[in-house]
């Protein structure tokens, strides 16, 4: 009945290789760990929506659970962040040229919060798979759950930041108006955009964990080029730069999302500050990043973080 094997070849009484494949086919067995079709994958991901949500909320809660002030840090962190940037750029460097003082502070704070949202989504994305290998290797679920979940966690964080933002904006004389509703579509588009980026970087980070070291520098460059603490047209006005460079800076998705939120919430920040077709740009970037990110991630589903 039993046999001792000293060499690799399969047991003599065991069916040969072709037979095994045929046996599997006859009983309708499927290859373990194979990549599902794209529609099937979307269905699986949707089936895990409660897990994705619970995981992101759990991460959010766990983040500050050891701190004495606890969840208060959700609000305090963005506030301190904004204060630092105001001190450096508003007071020391005088980056507010072209913007009236009562507009500059909410302008800066909005920029910091909105950009931080994209920035932290990318950083979380890079580590989404490579930093959770234990989870990836222990349980079976669509891997895209992780980057999506991390992007959602950042969105929750952004909602806390928005609370701070409302207070800051009101303190500088902009009061709730109908235009504030525009924040909702703008941020929704940004959520899609960020999720797409997180998916892209999750796959890249799974293959090359070194990205986690590199990305902070790339993102900081992106931040300084996106007009977080200065107005791009005002800054470029008296400089001799080719017009295409100004266009590139303005079409940058991060700048677009920031401008849209500023436009919606700050009274003194009228449509004259907005580049043309900014909504179309925001929508286009969101769709592009979302679709590309999802497709790119799905392509490596059966390989990600397994090696």
């Amino acid at each position: 009945m039993s046999q001792v094997l000293h060499t690799p070849p399969p047991a003599p009484t065991a069916p040969g290789e072709d037979d095994l494949a045929a046996l599997a086919a006859r009983h309708g067995l499927t290859v373990s760990g194979a990549r599902p079709s794209l529609t099937e994958y979307v269905r699986q991901l949707w089936g895990r929506r409660h897990f994705i949500l619970a995981f992101s909320q759990a991460k959010l809660t766990a983040q500050y659970s050891q701190a004495k002030l606890g969840q208060l840090w959700q609000v305090a962190t963005p506030l301190l962040n904004a204060a630092v940037y105001f001190f450096i750029f508003g007071l020391l460097l005088g980056a507010r040229r072209g913007i009236p003082h009562d507009v500059y502070v909410p302008f800066l704070v909005t920029g910091v919060f909105v950009f931080t949202f994209t920035q932290s989504s990318v950083l979380a994305g890079v580590r989404a798979i490579s930093g959770n290998l234990g989870l990836v290797r222990a349980l079976h679920f669509p891997r895209a759950s992780l980057p999506v979940s991390f992007a959602l966690q950042q969105r929750q964080q952004l909602l806390f930041s928005m609370l701070v933002l409302v207070v800051v904006v009101m303190a500088f004389g902009s009061f709730p108006a109908l235009s504030w509703l525009l924040v909702v579509p703008a941020l929704l588009l940004q959520v899609v955009f960020n999720t797409g980026l997180a998916l892209i970087f999750a796959r890249m980070g799974a293959k090359t964990p070194d990205l986690a070291q590199l990305m902070p520098f790339v993102l900081r460059t992106w931040m300084y080029a996106s007009g977080v603490m200065f107005s791009i047209p005002a800054m470029l006005a008296d400089k001799d730069v080719p017009p295409w460079l100004a266009d590139v800076l303005q079409w940058n998705p991060a700048a677009g999302y920031m401008d849209l939120v500023r436009f919606a919430m700050i009274d003194g920040y009228g449509s004259s500050y907005l580049p043309p077709h900014v909504w179309a740009g925001a929508l286009g970037w969101a769709l592009l990043a979302g679709a590309a990110g999802f497709g790119y991630f799905w392509k490596a589903e059966e390989r990600d973080g397994r090696g």
């Binding site: 009945m1 039993s2 046999q3 001792v4 094997l5 000293h6 060499t7 690799p8 070849p9 399969p10 047991a11 009484t13 065991a14 069916p15 290789e17 095994l20 494949a21 046996l23 599997a24 009983h27 309708g28 067995l29 499927t30 290859v31 373990s32 760990g33 194979a34 089936g47 895990r48 409660h50 897990f51 619970a54 995981f55 759990a58 991460k59 809660t61 766990a62 659970s65 050891q66 959770n132 290998l133 234990g134 989870l135 990836v136 290797r137 222990a138 349980l139 079976h140 679920f141 059966e302 390989r303 397994r306 090696g307």
Partner: protein
């Protein structure tokens, strides 16, 4: 191995499976930074020269598991048991060969999904969702899970963060969460070794119960007694090769001869073969 007649339905078929780990950063001992640079500059060299080590963890393993079987996996440390189990679960890619399964086999273990900073209560929900249970299922089984774990026997601990638990308590809660779900093909990796004696008895009973409901159970263990108690067929892996496949008693006798005596002696001096497993998570 049995002849497959028509009433024997296969649930897992492994067909010449090879599994290879690649480990980064094992290159030239002197100054790993220069080794890394070297690796980047000369891309087109062999994996070995570029400091990537290949660990061949499972070699050409073939077997067919049928519905209703409980199969033990034995072998000395580092012989590829857990790796093979992970591949069956579809969590590790195979280098060569194929693994066919009926439905989705699940590994019994949720350690990785749980967060130390969250309360036991939230971890029960999170772990359940991670295993693919629905919210209603978790709600209806919640009390059962907590009672089984015995976490609340000594006070209201379930509402405390898991980092405050003793290691035994945490292990018990993890097992209780993992065992709450019904599986078609269930893979158990040394889960029985957790907790105190009374909990071990309860968890062995739970495994047998799960086995009744599951199609096929795979059990990795160094405890030959629990293999004898639960399994009717045993696969013996040694250095990644399938050395023996047969009825429990026959294989265990050979294995005990190989490891030098009885279960007790084997336990006292576990032969350690530290084949490096990169970040293999139990």
């Amino acid at each position: 191995m049995a002849e497959h007649t028509d009433e024997k339905i296969p649930t897992v078929i492994a067909d010449g499976v090879d599994i290879v780990y690649r480990v980064n950063g094992t290159g030239a001992g002197r100054g790993s930074a220069t080794a890394a640079l070297n690796r980047m500059l000369r891309r087109k060299q062999t994996e070995k020269a570029s400091g990537v080590r290949r660990v061949h963890a499972v070699r050409n393993v073939s077997f067919v598991a049928y519905r209703g079987e409980a199969i033990g996996l034995i072998g000395t440390n580092g012989s590829g048991k857990s790796t093979l189990l992970k591949a069956v679960a579809g969590l590790l890619p195979v280098e060569n060969g194929r693994i066919y399964t009926d439905g989705q086999p699940s590994l019994l273990g949720v350690n990785a999904a749980l967060m130390r900073d969250l309360t036991g209560e939230r971890n029960v929900h999170l772990g359940g969702l991670a295993m693919g249970m629905s919210r209603e299922e978790i709600k209806s089984r919640y009390q059962e899970i907590v009672d089984f774990s015995g976490i609340n026997d000594k006070g209201d601990f379930i509402t405390l963060p898991m980092r405050t638990y003793s290691s035994g308590m945490a292990a018990r809660l993890r097992f209780s969460i993992a065992a709450a779900k019904d599986h078609d093909v269930l893979l158990v990796d040394e889960a029985l070794a957790t907790g105190d004696r009374s909990f071990q008895k309860r968890s062995e009973a739970r495994i047998r119960e799960l086995r009744k409901r599951a199609g096929t159970v795979f059990l990795v263990s160094h405890n030959n007694k629990s293999i004898r108690d639960t399994c009717d067929r045993v696969l013996w892996l040694e250095r990644g090769e399938l050395r023996m496949d047969g009825p429990t008693e026959e294989v265990l006798q050979e294995y005990e001869k190989f490891t030098g005596g009885t279960d007790k002696a084997a336990k006292a001096a576990k032969p350690a073969k530290p084949a490096p497993k990169p970040k293999a998570h139990a």
